[in-house]
């Protein structure tokens, strides 16, 4: 267990956000080539490859975890702050985010003289405008933004926000979509077009976008963190197939590549001597049981299924053992890690069978259920786990069904699913756990409701210090793993590889990259 440090909520001016991010993330670099040393060189175009695309470039439409395509928005917007798992805040455009009343009222202090790339000032009024916009009905950030019930512009660089209820995890939101602030002038004048040609205060300005294919950015000469960005331009291309992406990278067609799947390819890349970042946050690729639908509404079935599962075996099958699996939702170096709070994998099969038999005796058998998945790497994981269950337990028919993303989404909306995956990751678990596991929450995929767990989460949200938070989460976990409303397929890692020619790139949050500091040794 890591040492429990007192959480620092005061903003502290610190140098080199990069080092902090690495320490917090717990993911080491490949150990091989570290990239160029010496002073950052200006100039050149950074070429990056990614797997997936987002709906567009407007943060109000970015509802999936930031890592999926957050790196496409980050160059345009930057974030207000960066925060690590220990709660240490690195100032970016905001220099301080503080509370004096235990998390109900927050004061955000902005840096002086920051301008959006269209020349208009990035002031508290702009911040207020954006947060009001985030709370509008068609925004995807309403659940985050609507916590804010009132805002006051104290002075041009200070905004005060009052929340509906105390939330000591508020700063974490500011390195996500609502921490990406756009120019009010641009938003108002561009209307519809804003989401494909946004204006922010980040290191780069969008030059051209071909949806589903490529993004080009140019250096923002008015960037607040001069002399950054070092590069003149940034190009992102999308190659969905990880093996192809890696081949392209190895052939020297890119300086940087990033993606969440294809662990075996990433391992191979690392073995070839390339530096690979593997940021690990809590949680991962979670798989949810719909606790309001038979047969997974019965805890016996849920426990029995999970007891028959073996993540390492699934890893061997689906990703040639290259992915990271765990029976604990927290990584070992996390302050919230509790060795007793295990997901009950690899349980006693006789006991598991007894649970099933008891269910069947009462409700009839066989126990039939379906796990929905999209095609691709994920399907292999699903097949592996289902195979284990079918082989180890009698009277259970665990089916697999391949569906389109649209259908999967719909089955979340109309609660027609029984077993379905949806990633559950973040830098701060308290925020996430509240969103995904609290009674009645919109994003509570499992429709899970346990008053005890709820109370523990609410307590954690109100806790001003680390110790109380950890205690609260520990209580929540005890109850949680009796119920098993979800399990962890594998850790969700946004792998990133950098070439020997590229320096200054590190990861923070769930896998966002410090592209502002990136530089090419030979531009």
């Amino acid at each position: 267990m890591g040492s429990r440090r007192t959480r620092r909520l005061q903003g502290v001016a610190l140098a080199a956000a990069a080092c902090l991010a690495l320490a917090a993330c717990g993911g080491a670099s490949g150990g091989a080539a570290q990239g160029p040393t010496g002073e950052p060189q200006p100039g050149g175009t950074i070429r990056m490859l990614m797997n997936y695309d987002g709906p567009d470039l407007d943060p109000i439409h970015t509802t999936v975890a930031a890592t999926a395509f957050g790196n496409q928005l980050l160059p345009i917007f930057d974030t207000l702050i960066r925060v690590d798992a220990q709660g240490t805040i690195t100032p970016r455009i905001a220099t301080a985010v503080t509370t004096t009343d235990g998390g109900t009222t927050w004061t955000v202090k902005l840096r002086d003289g920051v301008k959006f790339s269209d020349g208009t000032p990035f002031d508290a009024a702009a911040l207020k405008f954006n947060w009001e916009r985030d709370a509008e009905p068609e925004s995807g950030q309403t659940s985050d933004a609507r916590q804010i019930t009132a805002m006051t512009v104290v002075d041009p660089t200070t905004l005060q926000a009052t929340l509906a209820s105390p939330n000591t995890s508020f700063p974490y939101l500011l390195q996500g979509p609502i921490g990406m602030i756009g120019s009010p002038t641009a938003i108002q004048t561009k209307g519809d077009q804003y989401s494909v040609a946004p204006v922010g205060a980040g290191p780069f300005v969008l030059d051209k976008r071909v949806p589903g294919s490529s993004y080009s950015y140019k250096k923002n000469p008015g960037y607040w963190d001069a002399p950054r960005p070092y590069a003149d331009a940034l190009e992102i291309r999308l190659i969905p197939e990880t093996a192809q992406m890696a081949s392209s990278f190895q052939a020297g067609e890119a300086d940087l590549m990033s993606g969440p799947t294809g662990a075996a390819v990433w391992r191979q890349t690392e073995e070839q001597g390339t530096r690979v970042l593997k940021p690990v946050t809590f949680g991962g690729n979670a798989v949810w049981f719909n606790t309001t639908r038979a047969p997974v509404d019965d805890v016996r079935v849920r426990r029995a299924l999970v007891m028959a599962m073996d993540p390492q075996d699934a890893n061997d099958k689906a990703d040639e053992g290259a992915a990271t699996v765990s029976d604990n939702i927290f990584p070992q170096d996390s302050p919230y890690f509790d060795p007793a709070a295990r997901i009950p994998y690899n349980g006693d099969l006789a006991q598991a069978q007894a649970l099933i038999d008891s269910y069947v005796a009462e409700k009839g058998g066989p126990v039939t259920l379906t796990w929905l998945t999209t095609e691709g790497n994920n399907r292999r994981w699903v097949e592996a786990y289902a195979q284990q269950v079918n082989q180890k337990l009698e009277n259970v028919d665990f089916k697999v069904e391949v569906v389109t993303t649209a259908l999967a989404l719909q089955s979340f909306y109309d609660d027609s699913f029984q077993v379905l995956g949806s990633s559950f990751i973040g830098v701060d678990p308290v925020l996430q756990m509240n969103q995904r596991l609290a009674c009645g929450s919109g994003r509570n995929n499992a429709n899970y409701c346990n008053q005890e767990v709820d109370a523990a989460f609410k307590q954690a949200l109100r806790s001003p210090d680390q110790a109380t938070r950890v205690d609260a989460v520990k209580k929540a976990q005890e109850a949680l793993w009796k119920d098993v409303p979800f399990f962890l397929q594998s850790r969700a890692i946004n792998y990133t590889a950098t070439s020997e020619n590229l320096g200054g790139v590190d990861s923070f949050a769930e896998g966002l990259l410090t592209l502002d500091s990136a530089w090419l040794a030979t531009p």
Partner: protein, 291 residues
Amino acid sequence: MTTVEQEAVAAADTELPRSRRGPAFLVWIAVAWLALLVLAALFAPLLPLADPAQDVGGPRQPPFASLAEPLGTDGLGRSVLSRLVYGARASLQVGVLAILVGLLLGGLIGLLAGYFRKAVDFVIGVVTDALLAFPGLVLLLAIGAVLGPGLPTVIIGLAALSLPMYVRMTRANTLRFTEREFVQAARLTGAPASRIITREILPNVIPPLLAYSVVVMASLITAEAAISYLGIGIMPPTPSWGAMIADGQFELARNPQLVFVPAVVLALTVFAFSVVGDWGRARLDVGGAKV
């Protein structure tokens, strides 16, 4: 032709390399392979094969490493041999049935269009063009939405997609022969259309269709896996050759046998079909449209 020319033709005839039937044993091997496949697929549960869905020895066991699993295991530890045999069921059904529908139905429509021309041709042409311009993806998804996922949906969907191609091909070849004098002559003598079509046109139109069908069959078998992401096909762990080939792509660099074993089986089957088809064509000895 003049008498002189006729004599020259008769003399030259023997020198022109005629299409040979090839070594007979090749045809026998082809027939044997196909028979073996069909029988194995039909009687799979009775054969001493492992359960095609179960992990029988750990993932990615190489072929020839053990007696129990001569072809090794796949990424989920399942017997490749067993999955090939069970997979033949799905793949052969898809390949053969979809082709049959396309061939018979499409062929008939194409014949009518090419023979009767004018209004019939125009209407059929418009519908065929519309079907071809229509994004196949949408058609498959719509069929899938109505019928639900499963093998019949895939067969119907793929048959619907290949239908217009057969119509086109048959029409083209019918066109070519309808205008010939001998057909015109037959029409003039009052021979019924059905007789003209079956006697004169059909024998000339069928051979390229068969050759085409063999290739289309293979494409359909691989296509069945390619459309799996649409969620309308056969669901895992039910095996099919297309799915085995598609699955293996994830580890092509490290375990290429996972792709090549099913691919070679498919290739051999295609080869067998085409050898048999060729022999059939040579037997019928069509192609002599005497002027």
